[in-house]
């Protein structure tokens, strides 16, 4: 195999701690404990290594990255290394004073999550009373400082009807971009398919609303759209291709090709505590496992879309087909496509309570009534 091209983006999951408990959290079901987290010096070294192997975009995420007390120090170190710094946050834990400190540290951009457009919806989905009011206050402070802002609205069966208002809110907040992200069923979301799966009609309506808003708001608000996966005919181009453009660092320093990669049981992952990022990117068997197209079985191997979507999502193939090398069952060419479509409709018609994400190092919460 030829040497891989350098990675462009790195997602740094600084912590799995978070005041919210969203039932679609993309963190693994087995959360990293606080005492396992990389310390400040480790992260600073990792940012430096990342810049030296070609990473340009750094996404500081979690959990809630603001729960790290050294966030300002980490932002400054990342900027000093030459990285573009993006903070992915719920806003909870950010104060006016901390935002000013992040501004001084050189933070480039903020992506603010939106669980709903009303306090009732947002606080129920986030499992955190008062969260919505707090978030609106933080959005105001972000606007006052002038940080470039992207609003990230996560949508599912319970709140898809709020999409038009979410787009309006992005405009009102002065956001340059909104990410309209239909829930992807990984991590905790996989346990909530009966509660969150959108109906086929909702998915089509969302696509229509996005298309209309893109025209109406051209040049004012950019709309990125992640459609409902299970209702699609072709799978998503996950991570732009495994091990091709991005990598993910878990709170404990594990280096992953994507945030859900630990759900593939036969893969083991190296750690920044043991090896340099460059060596891991180039040589780690987990990164090479699904890199390029050589690993593909049929029907992917002879498919003319194989470099368009790379066979879809490996973690979803694992979860739904029981084989990480299988064609993503979302694909019309997968033998499981028909079954998945039927299951999607069944999930969408079901009723179930939300299963909230647990806190790291504690037992799983019971479903809320």
């Amino acid at each position: 195999m030829t040497a891989p091209r350098p990675p462009i983006a790195m997602l740094a999951e600084l912590t799995h701690r978070c005041p919210l408990a969203c039932p679609y959290c993309s963190n693994p079901v087995d959360l990293a404990r606080q005492d396992a987290e990389l310390d400040t010096a480790d992260w600073v070294r990792v940012f430096d290594e990342a810049a030296r192997i070609g990473v340009l975009q750094l996404h500081l995420s979690g959990g809630e990255p603001a729960t790290r007390r050294d966030l300002e120090t980490l932002v400054k170190a990342a900027r000093d290394a030459g990285l573009y710094t993006n903070l992915i946050t719920s806003g909870i834990g950010l104060t006016q004073k901390r935002l000013a400190a992040l501004d001084a540290a050189g933070l480039d951009h903020i992506q603010l999550s939106l669980q709903g457009t009303t306090p009732e919806m947002a606080d129920e989905i986030g499992g955190y009373r008062g969260g919505f009011a707090r978030k609106m206050q933080v959005a105001e402070w972000i606007g006052a400082i002038g940080f470039p802002l992207t609003l990230n609205a996560v949508l599912h069966r319970r709140n898809l009807h709020q999409l038009p208002r979410a787009i309006e809110m992005a405009v009102e907040m002065g956001a340059r971009r909104i990410e309209v992200a239909t829930v992807q069923f990984h991590g905790w979301a996989l346990r909530n398919r009966d509660a969150l799966m959108p109906t086929r009609e909702q998915a089509a309506e969302a696509t229509r609303i996005v298309q209309e808003a893109r025209l109406a708001l051209k040049g004012r608000l950019v709309i990125d759209y992640v459609p409902a996966d299970y209702h699609s005919d072709y799978p998503k181009r996950c991570m732009g291709g495994w091990g091709s453009t991005g990598l993910n660092i878990a709170p404990d320093g594990a280096v992953l090709p994507c945030h859900a990669a630990q759900t593939i049981p036969h893969l083991t992952f190296d750690n920044v505590r043991n090896r340099s990022l460059g060596e891991i990117w180039q040589n780690d068997p987990a990164f090479n496992a699904y890199r390029g197209t050589d690993w593909m079985p049929e029907p992917c191997a002879s498919c003319d879309r194989k470099t368009v979507d790379f066979g879809g999502c490996r973690c979803q193939a694992m979860a739904l087909a029981g084989d990480a090398a299988a064609t993503d069952p979302v694909c019309v060419k997968s033998p499981l496509h028909g079954i998945l479509q039927a299951r999607a409709d069944a999930h969408a018609a079901a009723e179930a309570p939300l299963v909230y994400r647990a806190a790291p190092g504690k037992v799983t919460a019971e479903p809320a009534e």
């Binding site: 030296r52 070609g54 975009q57 993006n86 480039d108 470039p148 340059r176 971009r177 040049g219 950019v222």
Partner: protein, 90 residues
């Protein structure tokens, strides 16, 4: 783009040298645009003060190229950046 328009890079958008790939890039929120020599030359003239007309006149003089052709290329490039909210125009 009209000749009187004044383009500028908004906060959170910057031109940076990519020393690993040995090229210039435009870094924007969660996006990276690789700049070829022409794109880099155009953005090097965008300082928040110069008008679009002044920028194309300078580029035409420097590269000894017809100004209407430069204006067409630059308008296409900058217009696409504006649509993505990577460029402000006053």
């Amino acid at each position: 783009m009209d000749p009187a328009d004044i383009p500028s890079l908004p906060r959170g958008v910057r031109v940076q040298r990519d020393t690993v790939r040995e090229t210039w890039v435009l870094l924007a929120p969660e996006r990276t645009v690789t700049l070829d020599d022409i794109a880099h030359a155009i953005l090097s003239e965008v300082d928040g003060k110069a008008s679009f007309g002044a920028i194309t006149a300078r580029l035409a003089a420097r590269y000894q190229a017809p100004e209407d052709q430069i204006a067409k290329d630059a308008a296409g490039f900058l217009g696409a950046l504006r649509d993505r909210r990577f460029l402000d125009v006053a």
